[in-house]
């Protein structure tokens, strides 16, 4: 541990927040249908889509209709991806001649990309054709991210309304977010990444003659453009199996900083956009501060564990001042720690180092960030939406202590909101603990494990955590391309994605009809340091209480075992 390490982590995290702020203002204008400087270029395209789809963007939908449109759009997206992946072998743009995917793998992959998870049970460079990568998966990289953003836009309208009706138009939100936010941002970032040396080509690849005299086929793709939306859309699914540890995806410390920042930048932007749209900048600033504190603590925690030598290694005389297993030497411990926190704090899931090789507590922290529900800052829109759910629960539990029935951002929190908030956060314990509990005793599932004991349990927990939280990062060691894992993980991803989305939209539907209350001196202040502390406490206690027993059997016990183990034993 040294100060440069701390500074690097702080800088990386801080840059994302700083850039997210102005982008959030822009995103809010897009949500609100206000004019932007991109209008002259993009307005005709936007209008074209509305005409082509027969959508009236001004027609505000009820939450039922909004949620129905969202689910229908995602169902169609799933069917298209599934169909293309199955038929990949007979479709064009397949220079490497890859065959179609198996039923369970196509099912898993289609759900994975539709849910913005990008869990990959396959190695991209040896499975996916250019068509599959560029057209189908990349399309989902954009629209699944935009889908997440729509729920925050709808929720924002619900908070700002005074006895209103509709929560907005799903199609307009989807089209505008894709067109005005994701496409331009990805375009700019892709150009920057090309300039910094990432490949961008449609050719099949090159064949290299290695020093041993063997021929090695090296796949090339349009990496830069894919990389841009992979990070900005908080998708995380790499073209290469090694993801952002691969030198084509992430060649230098500078690309590492840029791509790391871009993991969180639109997640933060959605926080700021929500705050501006709800006219509650101060309150949302408190959410940003709470999330930043937790994220920095997590990054710092991982950095600390990675630079804490294990007693056994010390006793064996090994230089263990930094645990470099599974890390790229060009990045080092601080950059890997920051990335691990940022990718699990958001629902990104790209990695620049192997999480399975983190020290037990470091891996545990990465897992715990996902257990919290992907709110630091989470996916674009989905992160702020679940963060608001956490704020609602915090206000509900402790807010009574000021002697008023709870309210948040001017809306009363009553039985229906509490019920739906519980539903929104229930998906993670149900799927993570439920599937893990079964997989842990199912021989069929255990075949895919590399380890026994606590580390093996961590592999199981991490897989379901990553799937349910729509993160998509993997605890390498688990071979997941098998029917049991493909199917159950797909279910976990779908439940983990759509249960909270429907719950959040239902909350929006309930709140939109309520009167907007004026704050008074008796109203619980939800913008100060006190609320930040309260929110952090509620997030940690709620998350911790659910997962402490499971984590105790995985990373925590492994940690104590590592501490207790001395060389030769």
């Amino acid at each position: 541990m040294n100060w440069q390490g701390w500074a690097e982590i702080a800088l990386t995290l801080g840059l994302a927040v700083a850039i997210g702020w102005p982008l959030g203002v822009f995103m809010s204008r897009v949500w609100n249908g206000e004019r932007t400087w991109l209008d002259p270029v993009l307005r005709p395209f936007e209008a074209f889509f509305y005409t082509a789809c027969g959508v009236d963007p001004k027609k505000s939908q009820s939450w039922h209709s909004y949620a129905g449109a969202l689910l229908a759009f995602n169902l169609v997206g799933f069917l298209v991806v599934y169909g293309v992946l199955r038929l990949q072998g007979v479709l064009p743009m397949n220079p490497q001649g890859f065959p179609g995917l198996s039923g369970h793998l196509a099912f898993n992959t289609a759900i994975s990309f539709v849910t913005n998870t990008n869990w990959q049970s396959y190695a991209g460079e040896s499975t996916m054709s250019t068509l599959s990568q560029m057209l189908v998966l990349t399309t989902q990289n954009f629209v699944s991210a935009a889908t997440g953003a729509t729920i925050a836009a709808a929720l924002a309208r619900a908070f700002v309304a005074n006895r209103g009706e509709g929560v907005g138009n799903f199609w307009a939100d989807l089209i505008r977010t894709t067109l005005y936010v994701l496409l331009p941002a990805a375009f700019v970032l892709a150009i920057v990444l090309v300039a910094l040396g990432l490949p961008q080509t449609l050719s099949a690849g090159v064949t290299a003659h290695t020093l041993e005299g063997a021929d090695q086929k090296i796949s090339l793709y349009a990496v830069a453009s894919q990389e841009a939306i992979k990070q900005l859309g908080i998708n995380g699914g790499g073209i290469f199996n090694a993801n952002s540890a691969h030198p084509f995806e992430n060649p230098t410390p500078l690309t590492n900083l840029i791509t790391a920042v871009s993991i969180n930048v639109l997640g933060w932007a959605a926080f700021f956009a929500f705050g501006r749209s709800v006219l509650a900048k101060k309150d949302v600033r408190a959410l940003v501060i709470a999330a930043s504190i937790l994220l920095f603590a997590a990054g710092a925690g991982i950095y600390a564990t990675e630079t804490q030598p294990a007693p056994a290694q010390v006793a064996a005389g090994v230089d263990a001042s930094v645990n470099m297993e599974g890390k790229e030497t060009r990045f080092g411990a601080p950059a890997t720690a920051a990335w691990a926190a940022m990718t699990t704090g958001a629902s990104n899931g790209s990695v620049n180092g192997m999480h399975s090789s983190l020290m037990p507590l470091g891996g545990g922290i990465a897992m715990f960030l996902m257990h919290l529900g992907e709110i630091l800052p989470g996916g674009i829109g989905s992160g702020i939406a679940i963060m608001v759910v956490m704020a609602v629960l915090a206000v509900f539990v402790a807010g009574l202590m000021v002697g008023r029935t709870p309210e948040y951002l001017g809306k009363k929190i009553e039985a229906r909101e509490v019920q739906l908030s519980i539903l929104a956060v229930l998906a993670i314990p149900v799927c993570v603990l439920g599937f893990s509990g079964v997989a842990a005793v199912l021989p069929e599932a255990l075949k895919g494990l590399m380890h026994n004991g606590p580390h093996g349990l961590s592999e199981i927990l991490y897989a379901y955590t990553s799937g349910t939280a729509n993160n998509g990062s993997a605890f390498a060691g688990l071979t997941a391309n098998a029917p049991w894992w493909d199917v159950t993980l797909a279910i976990a991803m779908a439940v983990g994605r759509f249960a909270p989305i429907v719950a959040v939209l239902a909350i929006a539907g309930s709140l939109v009809a309520k009167p907007k209350l004026a704050p008074s001196a008796g109203t619980l202040p939800t913008h100060g340091g006190l609320f930040v502390g309260l929110l952090i406490g509620v997030i940690l206690i709620l998350g911790g209480l659910q997962f402490f027993p499971a984590l105790a059997l995985g990373p925590i016990v492994e940690h104590f075992q590592v501490l207790a183990a001395v060389a030769g034993h």
Binding site: V397, T523, V557
Partner: protein, 689 residues
């Protein structure tokens, strides 16, 4: 209040017994009830306690099975016993809370009329048929004479009587009830002391004010309030989450080579679910209603009590609430060349025969400055008349007058322009400040000006400052002109005022406030207040008020004290704070319980987890047992807090939250670490586990 012991005074005595501590009789009945409530059908409304009941049963079965198989069962028996105790303690909390209401209801029931009412079947002849009270239908007319108990609620259509309403209000001084106006409503169960009245029945049998009061006090038709329902949903959700966390440990544990005892899993589950708040939740609600009853306010629903905590705007009538309602003399300003004391003496002399409150207030002003005068023998009182607009006294050839300034000038033949500037300046100043100037003359010479003003009750300003810190805006409602209203508003420290207010203005103001997203509370007694009372989120009707008002409001103040609404708000807030404090405490407790039970569960198979036993508990079994015991005892320990309520302080939301978070949040984190450790020492010391 007088302390005359009448039949009705007894009702008051019982009511105040209710206000006192817990009698042993109440406790005995509650203890008995808590066993009756072990019937699982009575627990279905409370998922947390029902889950505890179920686990206690399963754990008992498993303990009995172990006994039957001659295996060691001491641990299982002890855990089962404490789980049952947890359910019993939760039941006890509810029973104790209910017990006080039940006792009060019994005393109210005793006042129900059993004798026959005098039903008038023919208005012309006045023919009377004795009819049981419960057969009286609305619209029928009854005769009630001196000594009769009024059989049901109604409206006086003829006559006037003094009525002793102590059975309802506890106030034994009789009040006058007469036909017409706002004093025409009578309540069943009260007694006519003198004269007679004809009453038109207004209440359906079984739904009289007294019936409703009994039901309310007893909690018979107690429904969960919106916030209570929301909280119950949260608690059920947490129970579900912990169920998942505990049940899935079977699989995760097996993978890790840990064998889990079902009793231990059950114990972990029960200690994690929020049994503390789950067990005390209904007691908090009942106690909230009870606290209102103690201040002699009857709420028609718990919902209204909850709404009281949320009130943003308080509409207060000026008269009787903010001011004494009578203009009082505060100073006498002498005319040039007159000594102040002489002017005051003249003012007093002019008022010696004046029995009006204004007149008495001048005598009082003199007494406060050490001047007491008696009416001279043979004095003639000059009464006030509409034409002279002045009054006074003639004695021993001297004359004193006081009256409206222009009237006194006219009788002294003074041209207002010739009046000394000191006097005319004082008159202007008084009028501008909202007061009333009275001119005083002695023997035909102007000697000074009396300043009469509406005096703000002492302490009112401080109370409004408190309210402001609580986040409440106070609006004064008055029929006075804007100038007077503004002067009193600034003196009393209210945030706003509505001058020259009509009932329609009141209603409009309430709607405006509600349109801005504010909750409004008001009190009122007149029939014309009824629409506003119904529109307000919290409408407090005075018991002495019109029947229409009493039905429109959602609370009735038996003392008919308009300032009571402030206490009502505090009671509402206190109830919500208590609920929040117990919830926070309950959830925060779980952290320590994990540190007790998780290492105990796993340490045999995974010794490395012994490091989590940071409390250094004696043994795995003692750790688990101590957590279960702590979990049960904490309910009993918190019953008094649930009943008494967390003290409300008017210090603003931010300070209140940080204070309560510190006590109940941080306290809730720390307390169980200490509590479980102490219990473990005892358990280990006694060799129980």
């Amino acid at each position: 209040m007088t302390t005359i012991e009448t039949h009705a005074g007894e009702g008051r005595r019982k009511a105040s017994a209710l206000a006192g501590g817990l009698s042993s009789a109440v406790l005995a009945r509650a203890a008995k009830d808590s066993f009756v409530k072990l019937d699982p059908r009575k627990l279905t409304g409370n998922p947390v306690i029902f889950a505890t009941w179920l686990v206690a049963l399963l754990s008992t079965v498993s303990a009995v099975a172990a006994l039957a198989a001659h295996q060691p069962a001491s641990f299982a028996i002890q855990v089962s016993a404490w789980l049952w105790a947890t359910v019993l303690f939760a039941n006890l909390a509810e029973s104790v809370a209910e017990g006080r209401g039940k006792a009060a209801a019994d005393s109210l029931r005793a006042t129900r009329v059993t004798t026959n009412a005098k039903l008038i079947v023919d208005e012309k002849t006045g023919t009377i048929i004795p009819t049981p009270a419960h057969k009286l239908a609305p619209g029928e007319v009854i005769l009630v004479e001196a000594g009769d108990v009024i059989p049901t609620d109604g409206e006086i259509i003829e006559g006037m009587a003094s009525v002793n309403e102590a059975a309802i209000t506890g106030e034994s001084a009789p009040v006058i009830r007469e036909s017409g106006g706002d004093r025409s409503a009578v309540t069943g169960g009260t007694t006519v002391v003198s004269d007679w009245i004809k009453v038109r029945v207004t209440a359906q049998p079984g739904s009289t004010f007294l019936d409703r009061m009994i039901a309310m006090v007893e909690g018979a038709d107690r429904r969960k309030t919106p916030n209570e329902i929301a909280l119950a949903v949260l608690l059920a959700g947490l129970t579900l989450i912990f169920l998942i966390a505990v049940v899935t440990l079977l699989g995760l544990g097996k993978f890790s080579g840990v064998t889990l005892d079902p009793i231990v899993l059950g114990a972990l589950f029960i200690t994690l679910i929020p049994t503390t708040i789950g067990g005390l939740l209904s007691a908090v609600g009942i106690a909230g209603m009870d606290r209102l009853l103690k201040v002699n306010v009857l709420a028609t629903s718990g919902r209204a009590v909850e709404a009281a905590g949320d009130v943003d705007t308080l509409l207060l009538d000026k008269t009787g609430t903010i001011t004494f309602g009578n203009r009082m003399a505060t100073e006498v300003i002498p005319a040039p060349g007159v000594r102040p004391e002489a002017a005051l003496r003249a003012a007093i002399s002019a008022s010696l025969a004046d029995e009006t409150p204004e007149g008495r207030s001048i005598i009082e002003l003199g007494r406060n400055q050490g001047i007491v005068l008696d009416i001279p023998a043979g004095a003639t009182a000059i009464a006030f008349s509409a034409s002279t607009r002045q009054s006074g006294l003639d004695a021993d050839g001297q004359s004193w007058r006081k009256g409206a300034v222009d009237a006194v000038y006219r009788s002294l033949a003074l041209d207002p322009k010739q009046v000394p500037a000191e006097v005319s300046g004082a008159v202007d100043r008084i009028a501008r400040s909202g007061g009333t100037p009275l001119a005083v003359s002695e023997n035909g010479v102007l000697v000074g000006v009396i300043h009469l003003k509406d005096v703000v009750k002492p302490g009112v300003k401080e109370r409004f400052a408190d309210l402001r810190r609580m986040g409440l805006r106070t609006v004064m409602i008055t029929g006075d002109n804007p100038v007077t209203a503004a002067a009193i508003a600034s003196e009393a420290g209210v945030d706003d005022f509505l001058a020259e207010a009509t009932p329609e203005d009141k209603l409009r103001l309430i709607r405006e406030e509600q349109g801005k997203g504010r909750l409004v509370a008001m009190c009122g007694d007149g029939a014309n207040d009824a629409p506003a009372l119904a529109q307000a989120d919290v409408g407090v009707a005075m018991q002495t008020g019109a029947q229409a008002a009493r039905e429109a409001g959602n609370m009735v103040d038996l003392d008919s004290d308009p300032t009571k609404v402030i206490e009502i708000v505090a009671v509402g807030k206190q109830m919500l704070i208590t609920r929040g404090a117990l919830t926070t405490f309950s959830i925060a407790n779980d952290v320590a319980k994990y540190f007790a039970i998780i290492p105990a569960m796993f340490v045999a198979s995974l010794p490395a987890l012994g490091a989590l036993n940071i409390m250094r508990l004696h043994s795995p079994q003692s750790a688990i047992l101590s957590a279960v015991i702590f979990n049960a005892l904490v309910i009993v320990a918190l019953i008094p807090l649930a009943l008494k309520g967390v003290k409300y302080r008017a210090i603003g939301a931010g300070k209140l939250l940080s204070r309560n978070l510190l006590v109940y949040g941080v306290g809730g984190l720390v307390a169980p670490f200490i509590g479980i450790k102490l219990i473990d020492l005892v358990v280990a010391g006694l060799g129980l586990a």
